[in-house]
Symmetry: none
Subunit: 123 residues, 4 copies
Amino acid sequence: MQFTNDKAIYLQIVELVEEKILQQEWSLEDRIPSVRELGAAIEVNPNTVMRAYEKLQQEGIIYNKRGIGFFVATQARDSILKTKRRNFLTHEAPLFFKTAKLLSVELETLISLYKQIENHEKN
Amino acid sequence: MQFTNDKAIYLQIVELVEEKILQQEWSLEDRIPSVRELGAAIEVNPNTVMRAYEKLQQEGIIYNKRGIGFFVATQARDSILKTKRRNFLTHEAPLFFKTAKLLSVELETLISLYKQIENHEKN
Amino acid sequence: MQFTNDKAIYLQIVELVEEKILQQEWSLEDRIPSVRELGAAIEVNPNTVMRAYEKLQQEGIIYNKRGIGFFVATQARDSILKTKRRNFLTHEAPLFFKTAKLLSVELETLISLYKQIENHEKN
Amino acid sequence: MQFTNDKAIYLQIVELVEEKILQQEWSLEDRIPSVRELGAAIEVNPNTVMRAYEKLQQEGIIYNKRGIGFFVATQARDSILKTKRRNFLTHEAPLFFKTAKLLSVELETLISLYKQIENHEKN
DNA sequence: GTGGTCTAGACCACC
DNA sequence: GTGGTCTAGACCACA
């Protein structure tokens, strides 16, 4: 697998797993690959995969059965969206609005753009 | 220089030049490196640099004096911002609002966030 | 066997024996290992085991038939629970309530927690 | 330093740091030892110390200044007590009440004991 | 110097 | 087999 240099590998694994779950390649309550399996598959040290799984577990996206493996939590989808939502509000959105300021784009312009998109999707 | 794989190299050179101008490393009316010079510096084929310069010229950011070289246009800064502004409105903003929709972030939430940032910068 | 450093070994042997009896590994009226046997088994000086047996005898948990050995008393289980009960009330509980105070946990919170557990075990 | 075997070393380091802060050996806003320093002092791999610091940071007890080190957060004391409180309510208290049940200690007995201690501390 | 990340390899308890 | 912890040693960006 290919990793970007500007982001920690374990964070990219977190995103990979979230994507698999959102795309329903890995269904709710399914067992996901063991840290060793996934590590071998994407050519990364199992410890690094473990770190990603720890973060995912802590966010309530996967859970662990001792001696068995990690499983996709029932509320995984909600947890992922919740996490992404928080990131969106604290990072993406502020950056977006700062760029808007920098480019002298008025709030009104953005709002009308928003409404255009809203209407576009209704059709 | 390092290039990303997910974008044409000549477009990355365009951005590089724009950045140099915005950061005022290359001042208005200054001569910029020749396609051969820049090509050697960033280890890229002069033809690729030429393609970038053509696009920049077409956007009114640089202009050419035959037999002498390329120069930063007087209105370069405005042109760049104008280009960025268009890109912002046609690509970034729609993507941003689609993400907002996907994450169930309301317009009101975005507006209040915008105003927070506005006030924050005043202090 | 592994012993903790923060408690006298003979007291840890007392607990070991009590545990064996509570778990019914050693049944009521059964003969338990001689001080030499147990001493060898857990790699401890027979004198230390003797000290533990004396304490257990004094608490009415085991009794001695001269020349034969030690036996689990009929009322052993009751005696052990009585001992544990006293320890619980004089040491564990006060410590527990002091910790509760320290952490600003109200009596009401504890009571409702108690009732939760009570109901939980009925199901 | 001495570590118990029945608990992960990094968790024991977490408790060590919390203790230092509660005892005010390390004051609020003070810089605490670097992962390398503490690692050397207690003869533990810096990575293990790092893991402890990560957990402490995540719980809002310490924070990090890039390239400088870790510092005791202003709300450290509150965060520690909050963490301990949660642990008390979800682990210690249930265990305590189960033991009470096992030893046939009535709720009324516990309550009167609680009130005794309450009065005792007032004098 | 600092934290942060990653690897390789080891050992453990649990199932 | 599984996760979980720990070590030793390496490299990086940041200050």
